[in-house]
C-alpha cells in the first residue's frame, strides 16, 4: 500500500513537471517552477546527507581496528577541518581559499596530470587489445589532432592544420550529433519507465 503511494507521488509530480515543460499555461508553468524549486532544495539536502554518510562510514572504519583506518582518519580530518574553517569564515574567505589553493587544487590537478599517462598508456595498448578498424581510426585521428594541437616546433605540414579543423567541423560533429540523439532517445525511455512506474528506485518495489 505504502509503495503504491510512493509510486503515485512519483508519477503524479513527474507528469505535472513534464507538462510544465511543454505547455505554457501559467498555472502549469508556475507549478513546475515551485516543484522544481523544492526538488532543488532536496537535492542540496541529499548532498548534505551524502557528506554525513561519508562521515559515518569512515568514522566506523577509523574506530574499528583495520589496516585502512589511517585513510579514514585522513578523510575525516580533511572533512572536519574544511567544514570548520570554510563553514566558520565563509567559503570565499582567505583561510578557505588557502585550503582550496594548497590542498584541493594540487591534489586534483595532479590526478588530472596522472590522467595523461593513463590515457597514453591506454592509447598504446588499444591496438593490441582490440585490433580492428575502429581502433585504427581512433588512434590515427587522436594522433593527428594531438600533433596539430601543439605548436609542433613551428613545423608546418601542409594540409594537416586544415584537416584538423575539418575533422572538428564535419565528421566529429556528425558522430557527436548521432551519439547525442541516440542518448536523448535513451534518456526519454529511462525517464518514461519511471513515469510509467516500471522502474521504482525509490524503494517502491
Amino acid at each position: 500500500m505504502r509503495n503504491l503511494v510512493y509510486t503515485a507521488i512519483a508519477i503524479g509530480v513527474g507528469i505535472v513537471v513534464l507538462l510544465g515543460y511543454f505547455l505554457q499555461f501559467d498555472l502549469l508553468v508556475n507549478l513546475r517552477i515551485v516543484l522544481l524549486e523544492w526538488a532543488t532544495i532536496l537535492v542540496a539536502t541529499a548532498l548534505l546527507i551524502g557528506v554525513v554518510n561519508l562521515f559515518i562510514v569512515h568514522w566506523r572504519k577509523s574506530t574499528t581496528d583495520q589496516p585502512n583506518r589511517v585513510n579514514s582518519i585522513a578523510l575525516l580530518a580533511g572533512l572536519t577541518i574544511t567544514l570548520g574553517v570554510a563553514g566558520w569564515f565563509g567559503p570565499t574567505d582567505p583561510y578557505s581559499l588557502w585550503i582550496f589553493n594548497y590542498i584541493l587544487i594540487p591534489i586534483e590537478a595532479s590526478l588530472m596530470g596522472i590522467l595523461s599517462v593513463v590515457l597514453i598508456y591506454a592509447g598504446v595498448r588499444l591496438l593490441r587489445r582490440k585490433p580492428n578498424l575502429l581502433s585504427i581510426v581512433f588512434i590515427t585521428t587522436a594522433v593527428v589532432i594531438l600533433l596539430m594541437t601543439g605548436p609542433l616546433f613551428g613545423i608546418d605540414i601542409p594540409g594537416l592544420a586544415e584537416l584538423r579543423i575539418w575533422i572538428g567541423k564535419v565528421p566529429a560533429v556528425a558522430g557527436a550529433r548521432g551519439i547525442l540523439l541516440g542518448v536523448s532517445l535513451g534518456i526519454i525511455a529511462a525517464g518514461l519507465r519511471i513515469l510509467i512506474g516500471a522502474d521504482r528506485p525509490y524503494g517502491g518495489n
Partner: protein, 247 residues
C-alpha cells in the same frame, strides 16, 4: 518556439504509447530478436565468474546531477544494480554500488534494500556507498575503493567525465573486468580507449533490457528503434525542404 514545444510533447506521447503497445505485444508473443552486444554477454559471464570466485561485483553509478538529463543514466545503472543484486545476493559476496552524488547514493541503498527484502536476507547499508561528492573526488574514492575491496568486475554505468580513466586504470591494476558506458561524450571517448568492454552512447541505456530487468526495458528498446527512424526521416525531410527553402 511554442510549436516546437508541442512537437516535443507529441514526440514524448508517441514514445509513451509505443512503449505501452510494445510491452503488451511482448506479453503475447516472442518479440523481435535484439542484436548482440558482446559487452553484455561478457558481463553475464563476469557475474558468474565473480560469484564462483567469491569476489565482489562493483556497480559505479557515476555523479550525474538528479535534476538534469544526466539522471537518466543513473536510473539505468540503478535498474541494473537491482537486477544483479536480486540474482547474486545468494552468493556470500553481494554486489556493492558506489555513487558520486548524494541522492544517487541514497537511491542505490534503497535499491539494495529492496533486493535484500525480495530475497529475504539482511541488507547491509554499506553496500551502497557514496565515495565522493565532486567528479574527481568521486573518482578518487572509487579508485581506492576498488583497491581496498576484492572486486571481480566493475560496471561503470552512470554519468562520468574524463576522470573515469582513473577508475578503469585502478580496476585494470587489480586485474578486474571493466564494463563502462556513460552519457557524457568525453567520458565515452575515454571509456572507448580504457574500458575492457566499452558501451557506446545509446547502448548503455539498453543495459536493463539486455540483463533482463523487465519487459518494459525491452519494450522501450522497440519504441526507441521506431522513433530512431522517425528522427532520421525528419532530419532528411527537413534537410531537403530547407535545401529548397520551403521551411
Amino acid at each position: 518556439m511554442d510549436s516546437l514545444n508541442i512537437l516535443g510533447l507529441i514526440f514524448v506521447l508517441v514514445f509513451f504509447g509505443l512503449m505501452i503497445a510494445a510491452s503488451v505485444v511482448l506479453r503475447q508473443r516472442e518479440g523481435r530478436k535484439l542484436r548482440e552486444i558482446p559487452a553484455f554477454g561478457r558481463l553475464r559471464r563476469a557475474i558468474g565468474l565473480a560469484v564462483e570466485a567469491g569476489s565482489r561485483l562493483h556497480i559505479s553509478l557515476g555523479r550525474g546531477q538528479l535534476l538534469s538529463p544526466q539522471s537518466a543514466i543513473g536510473y539505468v545503472g540503478l535498474s541494473i544494480l537491482d537486477r544483479i543484486a536480486r540474482s547474486t545476493s545468494i552468493s556470500d559476496r553481494p554486489p556493492v554500488a558506489t555513487a558520486g552524488e548524494g541522492s544517487l547514493g541514497i537511491l542505490s541503498q534503497d535499491t539494495q534494500q529492496d533486493a535484500a527484502k525480495y530475497l529475504g536476507v539482511e541488507s547491509d547499508p554499506m553496500r551502497g556507498r557514496i565515495t565522493g561528492l565532486t567528479p574527481y573526488s568521486y573518482a578518487a574514492g572509487t579508485l581506492s575503493f576498488i583497491q581496498e575491496e576484492d572486486i571481480g568486475a566493475n560496471l561503470l554505468i552512470g554519468s562520468f567525465g574524463n576522470e573515469v580513466a582513473l577508475i578503469t586504470d585502478a580496476a585494470e591494476r587489480r586485474d578486474g573486468m571493466t564494463l563502462g558506458g556513460t552519457d557524457n561524450l568525453t567520458g565515452q571517448a575515454v571509456l572507448f580507449a580504457t574500458a575492457q568492454e566499452p558501451l557506446i552512447g545509446e547502448e548503455t541505456y539498453a543495459g536493463g533490457a539486455y540483463l533482463g530487468a523487465g519487459p518494459m526495458h525491452i519494450a522501450s528498446l522497440y519504441a526507441q528503434d521506431i522513433l530512431r527512424w522517425v528522427l532520421i526521416g525528419l532530419i532528411v525531410m527537413g534537410a531537403i525542404l530547407k535545401l529548397f527553402s520551403v521551411l
